[in-house]
Symmetry: C2
Subunit: 330 residues, 2 copies
DNA sequence: CTGAAAGCGCTTACAG
DNA sequence: CTGAAAGCGCTTACAG
């Protein structure tokens, strides 16, 4: 049950392997007639070139490595999932496959192994950190790569959602309703995305020449125990509204509000960052933002393909967002 | 900046490529002295064999394909994620990598492309269906593969959690408390896992010689609108307790109960299938089951490696579970 | 427009 | 214990 090879095809047709190769790849001069004869034969006999052999000859793998952080944060999963779908869509259309690299943040071992083994033609990083050892390494080694999410490394080509503008707009909406004491609850400050959202938050205030209440900015609030204290603090300070940087945080905050009989939007307005399934059925409906993550994945993969093909895509691609107004801020 | 090859090593050491190859692989006779000399040189000069060339020579790819269904069901994501972690752990330890295949249920195109391109040495299916075209195809083509979750295809080697026993025990616990009218709410009946849980549910009744209330079995309840009707129906029928086949369903049911002022566990007992993050902070705490999904991934990958190496692992590997008692059934 | 030949970087019978 | 040589299945200068 051996697989049919390019030699078999060549022999059967009485042409050279070179000719068969050219018919398939479309490279090099070849007569229309010959090409069609070869293609017809291939089609009929279901010949599939051996990608490994092709890889070796061309020093290409037709794989892209996608790095997924080895962190459990259930709320981020749909994000990664959607990105992956977008990536895979584009990749498959160019006959590329996805090599999944699961790696703890800051740990470059997996990545190095795969690069040393020459198993991929390029890399997509699905999350970036303020100080990102993976980005640094890829950049040094001159490996084609794209980051989803911004990075501070100059040479990196990035695709991102416009978190800053989004947070700016969300904050502005609240400010323009006359709400002044707005709290911001966010996750890990080492994520670039956290910094970007914070920047948007600040800008909304400064544009309206209002002072930011620094004591109402709560970052690194990841554990729910910690979050309870945060909410406590927010309530003590007579806050008007809360913006949550993600829906997991928002869910927790809402739960605590309910426990303490804080009514939304009566006593407190609240807005969150994603209109995810976690909150979609919540009553009252929560004002939130909508991003197209599949599109993000597609954009990242398209750009990576460009780099691999030797082109230079634009350095920063920023994708839009939408504000989904809800009852929670009325 | 060319990469150092096996020939370079051989030349530098004044030995043949054969010898270098043998020193690395450990196959074939070679003197200890020579092996160590080669290994030392390799270590010092950081030589990494080209995996692609190795692949071509051995007809092996050192990749395993992992199939993830292209379906959005947020509740399943942590499951897949954990499995992936387990898989990757074992794979990496054997220098294998994961090729991610995202594929709509029933669609074998992605899979066929990857097989035709000979990009993997074996496949892990992360979800199975009652009628599973992917399983059928893999089985026909004689590709090494493992299913996570049971399948009805005879030849398939499977790794699964013991959903049946788990559901049996959960149901038994409720029955032994004297609860008779127990409703079962489940998802897609085309998933083997749904059928297994249902079987466990039934067995609990039959073992205690109690009749199953067929009208309290609700499958295929995926959309929340539909679920509302289901809950309505359950309440009409004066039900004692509800078992939910997953936490997404459970969350919805709990929400509806609250809306209708049905108190848990006062008016109604409830139990769910996973002790996932979705419910972990719920008040009252929810009686549920705990499975180790990373372990599942590990077991699947281990078995696949066995098959690839020419061994025959046991046909069905079943992993245990734990009942986590909560206040919701007290 | 077509082909013979070398090359990609390994492995592995075979011979010694 | 070691090595020369063929082979894995492609691609691609080079020559015609």
């Amino acid at each position: 049950m051996k697989n049919i090879t390019i030699s078999d095809v060549a022999d059967a047709l009485g042409v050279s392997k070179t000719t068969v190769s050219r018919a398939i790849s479309g490279k090099g001069r070849i007569s229309n007639q010959t090409r069609e004869r070869v293609l017809a034969y291939i089609e009929e006999h279901d010949y599939k070139p051996n990608v490994i052999a092709k890889s070796l000859a061309q020093s290409k793998t037709y794989n892209i490595g996608v790095i997924m952080p080895a962190e459990y944060d259930i709320i981020d999963l749909p994000f990664f999932q959607s990105c992956l779908f977008g990536i895979q869509e584009i990749a498959a259309s160019k006959d590329y496959d996805i090599l999944l690299i699961i790696s703890p943040p800051g740990d470059t071992r997996q990545l190095e192994r795969i690069l040393a083994n020459r198993k991929v033609d390029g890399i997509i990083l699905m999350r970036t950190f303020v100080k990102d050892s993976q980005v640094k390494m890829l950049s040094q080694k001159n490996v084609p790569f794209i980051t989803i999410g911004s990075t501070y490394v100059e040479s990196a080509i990035q695709v991102d959602q416009d978190h800053k503008s989004a947070c700016f707009e969300l904050t502005s909406i609240l400010l323009k309703k006359g709400l002044k004491k707005i709290a911001l609850i966010g996750g890990n400050e080492n994520f670039v995305v956290t910094q970007n959202r914070l920047a948007g938050f600040r800008e909304a205030f400064s544009q309206l020449k209002l002072p930011v209440r620094e004591d109402l900015i709560y970052l690194n609030t990841e554990h729910s125990s910690q979050l309870d204290e945060t909410v406590e603090d927010i309530l003590t300070k007579n806050t008007d509204a809360v913006i949550c940087m993600d829906d997991a945080l928002c869910t927790q905050v809402l739960k605590t509000f309910r426990k303490k009989n804080v009514s939304v939007p009566g006593d407190m307005k609240i807005a969150s960052f994603y209109n995810s399934t976690v909150l979609e059925n919540y009553i009252p409906s929560i004002t939130s933002l909508s991003f197209d993550e599949k599109k993000l994945g597609r954009a990242a993969c398209k750009n990576l393909m460009e780099i691999i093909e030797g082109n230079t895509p634009q350095k920063i691609t920023v994708l839009g967002y939408q504000v989904i107004p809800g009852e929670s801020t009325e």
